[in-house]
Symmetry: C2
Subunit: 316 residues, 2 copies
């Protein structure tokens, strides 16, 4: 086993960060590293945290880290960073707030740029989480901003999803929140010392009740926090671990992890297949003619696609 891999499995943050960087850069050593660590993954508890900008997610996450450390749990955070070259800034402030954990070897915080995306799960998030899993973090939190397809993706990927909201927000935020009501396992009304917090809790509870899924199913709690004061954090961490136990008792934790592995497998297959088809064909004159004919609408796009795939054979 290469020294670097040994270091990663021992939780060495420098070695872990190097592999993560290689995966993000599409460096072939990244995939080679992933092969070696894969057998050591599948243990981490993956928690997604989502909610509108301004709801105080980063502060909540920072206090959750402190609470987990108190419980002697190793924690990693992947913050999917919506900042961009031109307009970045807001997120840097969030990162600074997490500075207090910088010297704790049981904590690993990683911001991932989304390269043209504004929020959500970047392409390599799954691979990065595998690295953190192999490094021995008990809990990996994925923090995202915004609402959209991305959040649904995070919720599908995580074992447990926390949806953060805040009291008395305007209509625009209410509309944003509506879409999140189907993906949460734990709801947190942060800034709970603002007026209207109890109303917000009641509103969420009644909306959740409408969607009740019957006996034995998980009933998502609605919790109040004041993250800046560290209030209510312990209950949030408890709720996550209760949900984890709920999944384990029903064999769903294992099932979920298997599904994630299969999803990654399919994505890797499709990536490789895409490369193979489009790169291998590229030099072919017949392929170039096909492309020209599609562009000029001499052949329709569906027939052209069918034609290409017709000549493709898989033997397994």
């Amino acid at each position: 086993m290469p020294t670097d891999i040994k270091k990663i499995l021992a939780g060495d943050q420098l070695a872990g960060a190097r592999l993560i960087r290689q995966l993000e850069d599409g460096d072939p050593s990244g995939m080679a590293g992933l092969k070696t660590i894969f057998a050591h993954t599948g243990k981490a508890f993956i928690v997604g945290i989502t909610g509108p900008a301004g709801s105080g997610k980063s502060t909540l996450v920072s206090h959750m880290i402190t609470e987990c450390r108190r419980r002697d749990l190793k924690v990693a955070v992947v913050a999917v960073d919506p900042s961009s070259a031109r307009t970045g800034g807001a997120f840097l402030g969030d990162r600074l707030r997490m500075g207090q954990h910088a010297k704790d070897n049981g904590v690993f915080i990683r911001s991932m740029a989304t390269r043209g995306h504004v929020g959500g799960l970047s392409t390599t998030t799954r691979e990065v989480v595998l690295v953190l899993d192999a490094m021995g973090y008990d809990m990996v939190m994925i923090e995202t901003v915004g609402v959209g397809q991305d959040e649904v993706e995070v919720a599908e990927f995580a074992h447990t999803t926390i949806v953060v909201s805040l009291p008395g927000a305007g209509d625009d935020i209410q509309a944003l929140k509506a879409g999140l009501l189907e993906i949460g396992d734990v709801y947190v009304v942060n800034k709970g010392d603002l007026p209207g917090a109890d109303n917000e809790v009641a509103r969420l509870k009644s909306m959740l009740q409408m969607g009740q899924k019957g006996e034995g199913s998980w009933s998502a709690p609605v919790l109040i926090t004041v993250a800046v004061k560290g209030e209510g954090i312990s209950a949030v961490v408890d709720a996550c671990w209760h949900h984890r136990q709920h999944l384990r008792d029903r064999g769903l934790f294992q099932k979920h992890s298997e599904q994630q592995t299969l999803d990654l497998f399919q994505r890797l297959v499709m990536d490789l297949v895409g490369d193979k088809i489009f790169n291998d064909s590229h030099a072919s004159a017949a392929y170039q003619t096909l492309l020209e004919d599609v562009k000029n609408r001499k052949i329709d796009v569906v027939t052209a696609a069918e034609h290409l795939v017709k000549n493709l054979h898989v033997i397994i």
Copy 2:
């Protein structure tokens, strides 16, 4: 040519809606229809409209329709609908506001559910736009809500992207807007009668100036509207058509359309390939063993993917 296709090419809304429904449902007649109409596409001007919820996009769109009709342009709108079974409602109100165009055969409005997504471009949006293109609409507007990967996707797909914002919004909205500053070709500050509209325009202009791309490149205008009163709408429609002319003068309109066709081609190829690989392999015992081995981490996920793709051959 089947009667239905003739009707679609003549702009028959009932026939068009039927083909759209078939495409959304994954009905094989949808793909068959797409084949027949494809040669008649590539003419429509595609305009994306995005911005935070509450910025008044739907009202703006409704007035833009009126303005386009005044200019004798046929207009279609695809509203990507974030409502869901459980929490739907807000968007229905928006649709009702568009009711005034219901009896105009030169206007076609279609809401698309995003099936688990909260906003953005649904999988069949490109195909639906092709149908509207074949039906002879001069301009197809795609209206989305939220910010995220989805919006970037819409911006790439559209010839011209309008980013709508509003004055004096809170920090949360400011953060949301930041991500949109790279994708707009036309900026609209709606609710321009609210205090702070001029500040908002100045702020946007100075942010845009920082990203100036040099001589001859498009300089995105920042316009003020009061959509509920129909003010400033004509200038927005003008700006879109100016941008279209800018693209045409540089051969970029054609180039953009070709790129969209190639993107659709690649996606159709990948869909077909995915079906072929995962469905065809499904019955194979060797494939099932491979999957089990990945699940149990006897083989790593990268090697397993490589193994599957190694046996795949494309002859063109």
